[in-house]
Subunit: 222 residues, 2 copies
């Protein structure tokens, strides 16, 4: 039983990898940059993406693909910001995969977009295992979650190129040490770019958006 | 491929259910109460369990089984409180299941314990699907995560008997409405007992511990 399960899991992951690779190629050929945004539930993915949209929307044509198990809460917020929102409901699945993304992207006219954000399921475990076809993976960790999460969810912190530490405005209420976090990261993922922001107040968002634009422009080719 | 996968998943879940049922029976026969504590990463499972230990440790013999993907951070904190801590490292798995629990419990002398807490992996998705053999399931939601989580992670809110809303001391910093949360729960799980606490200050812990004692005493038979 266990061996069969491991085989199935390997097949799923390798099928997913091929589908993701194909999708990424198609996006690149169409000069569309896609970024996979991951975090725990309630760390502020939607609010952070909304902040980026404010900075980017005059120069880039943006879509947000919302991954949720259920509900349309977040895609409604994105729509209100005047940006295309596409809802994926996984119906119980703990992550979005390349096949789900392909279905969403097949329905889009890629010539109409420059940047696609994927807002993944709120989960620090499963989404880290699945390549979605995005060019770049990033994660958000919020101050209230604590600075020990690097040790507890190492895969997520290993696979992401950037970490946005969010809810900086609440730091006085919590025992959170950014230096301790960075020290743990040094061992696990020393290349990771770390940004310290408050998506509520907008503090610290600009440097992260600059990072995002640099990544995006390489694919968009502007 | 998909059909094969679904079959495997059904087999896994039904094998797990039998193992969980067996384990629960064994615990009951030994008058040991086990509770499965679930939440997002950083919602405060360890701190909340530590608060309960303060109230319970003079009258009950307690063990905490710590589920983590990696690290021993939490079991060290539990040990410092003078309580038996048993670490399960799932090595990537997004939940603990009955087979893992059985391994941990096989190593324990059940005559030495009254209450076992399971601190599950920080994840609002996968742990909701797996019966661990515990008598009761409960969850913690922290104020910073937001009151919309009921809509986004409905299975977790459906399977739990109690909800501890934690980090009440930080409410002034967040847009969190307890009444809105309760309204959403009314549709999904009207039987759920809701406690509003701060595990940092200890505020609101006593009523939740009373609830826990009532559940535990039925199994322990005191």
């Amino acid at each position: 039983m266990d061996i069969q399960l491991i085989k199935i899991k390997q097949n799923i992951l390798s099928d997913n990898d091929s589908a993701a690779e194909e999708l990424r190629k198609r996006l690149t050929e169409n000069h569309v940059f896609m970024i996979n945004v991951m975090s725990s539930p309630g760390a502020g993915k939607t609010t952070t993406i909304l902040q980026a949209i404010k900075y980017l929307k005059d120069d880039y044509r943006i879509a947000v693909i919302e991954g949720d198990i259920d509900s349309m809460v977040d895609s409604e917020k994105i729509s209100e910001a005047g940006v295309t929102a596409i809802q994926i409901q996984t119906g119980g699945d703990c992550h979005v995969d390349a096949a789900m993304l392909k279905l969403a992207i097949d329905d889009m006219d890629l010539s109409e977009f420059d940047i696609i954000f994927i807002e993944n399921i709120g989960n620090l475990v499963c989404p880290a295992e699945f390549d979605t076809g995005a060019h770049t993976k990033m994660m958000i960790l919020s101050v209230p979650e604590g600075d020990d999460k690097v040790l507890k969810y190492p895969l997520m912190f290993s696979v992401c190129e950037a970490l946005v530490v969010n809810k900086a405005d609440t730091i006085s209420m919590f025992d959170f040490d950014l230096e301790r976090l960075k020290k743990n990261l040094e061992k696990l993922n020393p290349e990771m770019d770390v940004f310290y922001v408050s998506s509520k107040t907008g503090e610290g968002i600009a440097p992260w958006v600059e990072w995002l634009k640099e990544k995006a422009d390489r694919v968009i080719g502007v």
